[in-house]
Amino acid sequence: MSDTTVAELSHEIEGSGQGRSLWQDARRRFLQNRAAVVSLIVMIIIALIAIFGPLFAAWNNEEVDWNVLGDIASMGGPSIENGHYFGVDELGRDLYARVVQGTQVSLMVGVIGSLIAVTFGTLYGATAGYVGGRTDNIMMRLVDILMSIPYMFVLILLLVVFGRSMWLLFVGIGLISWLEMSRIVRGQTLALKSKEYVEAALATGVKHRVIVTRHIIPNLMGIIVIYATLLVPQMILTESFISFLGLGVQEPNTSWGALISEGASTLQYGTYWQLVFPLAFFIVTLFCFFFIGDGLRDALDPKDR
């Protein structure tokens, strides 16, 4: 901590007279956090694999390699020569192509799910906090009520009743996670509302809508970004959990959870690569998101330490 203050001081002297925004400060603090920066780089690499991975695949994800199908345990392992970099799965499909596809789906679930949760939670929480009074009371009571609903079960119920589609899964996962977010945002909004600058804005006749968009939301951004980052691994976990049960994405689509489930069930035949590769991607990604989230929290919310 002490070297930070020195750096800050020297920085202050160099650029005296020039103010630094919260975001510039935060970026500097984030870049000093080695674990977070490494995680960010690894995460970018994984995202690049998800986007450009198919270009390097020698096999299509639905193609069956008949040469190895008969004896996957001894011939289906990872090899460069036959183009199966990660080996094949128990149906003789190229595991590299499958893992890339699973990465796309899982990352998409994470990002879309947390976007939905964050958007909805922020709007809801900010409204409740800003309007206050009875509206706030009712809205938050509703959140309390919804909080004690066992969501994993309801989500599975939804998926069974309305048929398993990927979009329902995405939206469902997002919609079950906004509650926590709305509580946090409401708390912050309540604190922000009583700040002097909001009072000043009100006194000079600024419209409520403008106050929310110009003063409240920008000040909430820090906490929103932190929670969005921490939500992504949760979403990926939830999706993987459901796919592991065989209730999530359906063939020929796949996700990390589905791949891990396949790998786990064929482990006894000695095809360890079917578990190792998807599992490695899964674990590395979760690690990265946790570290990035921690780094962001330290960077954007220095009081919290």
């Binding site: 309390d144 009520i145 909080m147 004690s148 609903i149 066992p150 994993m152 079960f153 309801v154 599975i156 119920l157 939804l158 998926l159 069974v160 009743v161 309305f162 048929g163 691994p233 976990l237 993987s240 959990f241 592991f244 049960l245 065989g246 209730l247 959870g257 891990i260 489930s261 790998g263 786990a264 482990l267 006894q268 578990l275 599992l279 899964f282 674990i283 979760l286 690690f287 946790f290």
Partner: protein, 307 residues
């Protein structure tokens, strides 16, 4: 205190009602009834069956009957797939199993998690701390559905020490792997929360005062620091129990322990809606119950909350 508990119990009623009505409507809106199969039944037979299960009543009446059945007799109705079994029988068979290993896992997670977190906080920035933090980060990215296959690989396939699945009336060799798989990631979270909250408490003024007046570090820890440090852990415990019950789905599936999770997944795959609803509502009740217990514990420990 009593008034607080009564108030909380009363507020549980709308929650449960919403849950019941929501699941009922969801089930009702499902495309295809429970008896529409590949070989369509003659309409008269179908009408008879529907009359038997009261599916031909108007919707509000059906909901009312269901709610009354659940509330007054805890009766979730018959299973639509197994003609001779009721939902209660199916739940009654699986629930004790889930509750057994769920409770053991819960206790294991709390005891080891708190111990690990305390150790890490008291020996901050030593190798013990790094070890504890390392374990808790590592365990966090190993959810139960990843733990389970790895455990089976090591202890059943390689070492051959433990049976790979089954329940056998809850004999301990059958319990070990489910409990480890279920409790590890919670233990990790509890350890992390415990560590950070104890660290914060240990740096606060009243601990410094206690130190200054010469209390031994054991007295400081157990008489002064532990109680406030437990608060964040306790508020984490309410949801945890429910997530554990949810996690039991994986445990049941992987270790074929035959708990409530297995019944839930089976009914999900069979479209046996009444069983799914019954289990969802049961878990909802548990959630509410545990949130209540946590709130009471919290209020009891935290002197700032006046009842």
């Amino acid at each position: 205190m009593t008034a607080f508990i009564i108030k909380r119990l009363l507020s549980a009623i709308p929650t449960l009602l919403i849950l019941i009505i929501f699941s009922f409507l969801l089930m009702h809106s499902a495309p295809g009834g429970p008896f529409s199969s590949d070989r369509p039944l003659p309409p008269e037979v179908l009408a008879n069956i529907e009359a038997k299960y009261h599916l031909d009543d108007p919707l509000p009446l059906q909901i009312w009957n269901y709610v009354v059945g659940v509330v007054t007799q805890f009766d979730f109705g018959p299973s639509f797939q197994y003609k001779d079994r009721t939902v209660n029988e199916i739940i009654g068979q699986g629930f004790p199993v889930t509750l057994t290993y769920g409770t053991i896992s819960f206790v294991v997670a709390v005891v080891f998690g708190c111990a690990l977190g305390m150790m890490a906080a008291l020996k901050q920035n030593t190798w013990l701390d790094y070890l504890a933090v390392g374990i808790s980060i590592g365990a966090q990215v190993l959810p139960n559905f990843v733990m389970a296959p790895i455990l089976v690989l090591i202890f059943t396939l390689w070492l051959g020490w433990l049976p790979g699945g089954g329940w056998n009336g809850g004999a301990w060799p059958y319990l070990i792997m489910p409990v480890i798989a279920l409790s590890t990631s919670f233990m990790a979270s509890i350890a992390r929360i415990m560590r950070s909250s104890l660290l914060e408490v240990m740096h606060s003024n009243f601990i410094r005062t206690a130190r200054a007046k010469g209390l031994s570090s054991r007295d400081i820890l157990f008489q002064h620091a532990l109680k406030p440090a437990m608060l964040p852990v306790i508020s984490y415990l309410g949801p945890t129990f429910v997530i554990m019950i949810t996690g039991s789905v994986v445990i049941d599936l992987y270790f074929t322990t035959g708990g409530i999770g297995q019944a839930f997944v089976n009914s999900a795959l069979n479209r046996d809606y009444s069983v799914m609803m019954g289990i969802t509502i049961l878990v909802g009740c548990l959630t509410i119950f545990f949130n209540l217990i946590v709130d009471i514990l919290y209020a009891w420990i935290d002197p700032k909350i006046k009842l």
